[in-house]
Amino acid sequence: MIESNLVALREEFTHRNVLICFNGPVSHGLIEEIGTAIRRYLESDAGKGVTAADVFAVYVEFSQNMKAYLERRAFTGDRGAATILVSREGERYAVTAGNVVANDDLVPLLARVDALAGLDAAALRALYKQRLREERPPGSTGAGVGLIDVARRSAGRVRYATWPMDPDHTLFGITAVV
């Protein structure tokens, strides 16, 4: 039963300063609703201004990326679950997104995140502008600049970690601190 783990679950959330956590299939409606919850929470916690806007923006980019990817790969059930966490890290907020990735997609994904790591604000801005003007690949639902947008809003580099799930799939977790 879920309650037999309740103490451990609460301790984990408390220890990690988790404000909001979701794990499951994401629809557009759910992304909207969780977004509203995040906003309401931040209004009482951080007030208006840059931070609240950045947390919301990073959350939207991550969650929409996950939704688009999981749909494109037609992942369902446990494999189709998206994990979203908003937690406190010191004075800042951390937004974490986790989803299963097919191993074929993993290397290009990590390369894209790695490519952003060494870039300063001016370089990120230039890359963003350049990418924004490039032609979209056919069938794409995004502009291809979501990660760059997240990197621009992040304090420090965007972090990630991976865990093998089975011979063909890996769990990918990404965190931006705002």
């Binding site: 557009h28 992304i31 909207e32 977004g35 509203t36 208006k48 201004g49 840059v50 806007a53 950045d54 919301f56 923006a57 939207v60 980019e61 929409q64 801005r125 502008k129 924004l132 003007r133 979209r136 639902t141 995004g142 502009a143 600049v145 979501g146 760059i148 947008d149 809003r153």
Partner: protein, 125 residues
């Protein structure tokens, strides 16, 4: 003449054209499920209606836009810039949030490539 009147939702802005004032308005937040589909009617309207308009005023008050919407917005500004280059009178009022410096940064990034009249205005409330 096509009417343009898209209602606002939680994740998508109202988009309308007011023929009495020759004003194109966009108001709300923009993170729809598919930005390109969402903004398609606007681009279709522009293609059909803009050539016949003597001038166009645009009012944009979008307090948040996701990266896909930013791409669509850039496409809109490019269309306005093209109209301006062809001699059409184009003006834009871009509303921003005084409490959020990023909101003004965004406006100014968009303004960089525009040569028509592009004003930034503090949004009320």
């Amino acid at each position: 003449m096509n009417a343009l009147d898209v209602k606002q939702t939680k994740s998508s802005p109202a988009v309308w054209f007011d023929p009495a004032r020759n004003v194109l308005g966009i108001l709300g937040e923009s993170y729809p499920e598919n930005s390109f589909e969402f903004y398609a009617p606007l681009f279709e309207w522009l293609r059909e209606a803009l050539p016949a308009l003597p001038a166009l005023r645009v009012e944009i008050n979008v307090s948040y836009m996701n990266s896909s919407s930013t791409k669509c917005m850039l496409d809109l500004l490019d269309a306005l810039e093209a109209a301006h280059r062809q001699g059409k009178r184009v003006e834009l009022d871009w509303y921003y949030d005084r409490d959020n410096p990023r909101s003004l940064d965004l406006a100014e990034e968009f303004r960089e490539d525009c040569h028509f009249e592009f004003r930034t205005v503090v949004a009320e409330g």
